[in-house]
């Protein structure tokens, strides 16, 4: 099972948008272990508790499906200190170094993505995780297409188109 660290943006999107009556995050949890920093839980599930997606996130945390891991090491704190990143993004990057077997940081934020790459991490956007899970047969191509189509309004031009092309390749290679 893939272990991924989520920052707030993709977590909100995954908890907010539904496919066939089910939040996207539940599809993701069927084939990945989602880890978040306490500051991300705070941003999404605590401060966001008045939104239905905040409740979705809070319930998954309470059920232990989304793991909240406190920051124990500040090895990269100084590396990220001077970027214009929020606390959740900084903590998510730092957490990637701390949690064992993290496959990637999942972020839809350009700056967080670049900083993660500069630190030698693997960074994925949420649509990349959907493709990766399809490649690993945790999602069907049809569900992946539905997810990509449902979340497309949250992305700029090129991102979803790119992922749909990747899905075609997955389908051809299956």
């Amino acid at each position: 099972m893939l272990t991924v660290v989520f920052d707030a943006g993709p977590l909100i999107t995954a908890c907010k948008i539904e496919v066939q009556g089910k939040p996207v995050v539940d599809y993701l949890l069927s084939g990945s272990c989602i880890v978040v920093a306490p500051s991300v839980e705070q941003e999404v599930a605590v401060l966001g508790a008045r939104y239905p997606d905040g409740v979705v996130a809070g319930e998954r945390v309470a059920e232990g499906l989304i793991r909240v891991v406190p920051i124990a090491s500040r090895k990269w704190a100084r590396h990220v200190a001077n970027y214009n990143l929020g606390k959740g993004e900084k903590d998510s990057i730092i957490l990637c170094d701390q949690v064992e077997d993290v496959e990637a940081l999942v972020t839809d934020d350009y700056l967080a993505f670049v900083v993660a790459i500069r630190l030698g991490l693997k960074a994925w956007m949420l649509p990349d995780l959907v493709v990766q899970m399809t490649e690993r047969k945790s999602l069907t191509v049809a569900v992946a297409e539905s997810i990509l189509s449902s979340i497309s309004s949250r992305y700029r031009v090129g991102v979803i188109e790119h992922s749909l092309e990747r899905l075609k390749e997955v389908k051809e290679n299956a």
């Binding site: 920052d7 707030a8 943006g9 909100i12 999107t13 941003e43 999404v44 401060l47 966001g48 939104y51 997606d53 905040g54 970027y83 214009n84 990143l85 929020g86 606390k87 959740g88 993004e89 839809d108 934020d109 350009y110 700056l111 967080a112 993505f113 670049v114 956007m125 309004s153 949250r154 992305y155 700029r156 031009v157 090129g158 991102v159």
Partner: protein, 95 residues
């Protein structure tokens, strides 16, 4: 709508009172409320431009404007703006 007491620059207050005297507009409170809304929108657009260009992250944007990340997400969504800043900016032609 909540009401708060805030210091206002003399020139702004004078402008509001002159407008009212000249019957150019609404009462002073309404004029000042409108200025606050315009100021918030201006700051939002200014920060969104920095976010769009990748200078600041969504979380930094939220902290700078004084909203939680989830509230900012909602504000951007209500305006039809993407919450991700990776990829090409939409051109006027494709929305």
């Amino acid at each position: 709508m909540p009401k708060v007491v805030i210091p206002v620059k003399e020139e702004i207050l004078q402008a509001a009172e002159r407008r009212k005297a000249a019957k150019q507009g609404e009462d002073v409170t309404q004029f000042l409320a409108e200025l606050i809304n315009l100021g918030f929108e201006h700051r939002l657009q200014e920060l969104y431009r920095q976010f769009e260009s990748g200078e600041i992250s969504l979380g930094y944007f939220a902290a700078e404007i004084g909203l939680g990340v989830r509230d900012l997400y909602s504000v951007l969504e209500d305006r039809g703006l993407p919450t991700s800043n990776i990829g090409a900016r939409p051109s006027p032609a494709n929305g």
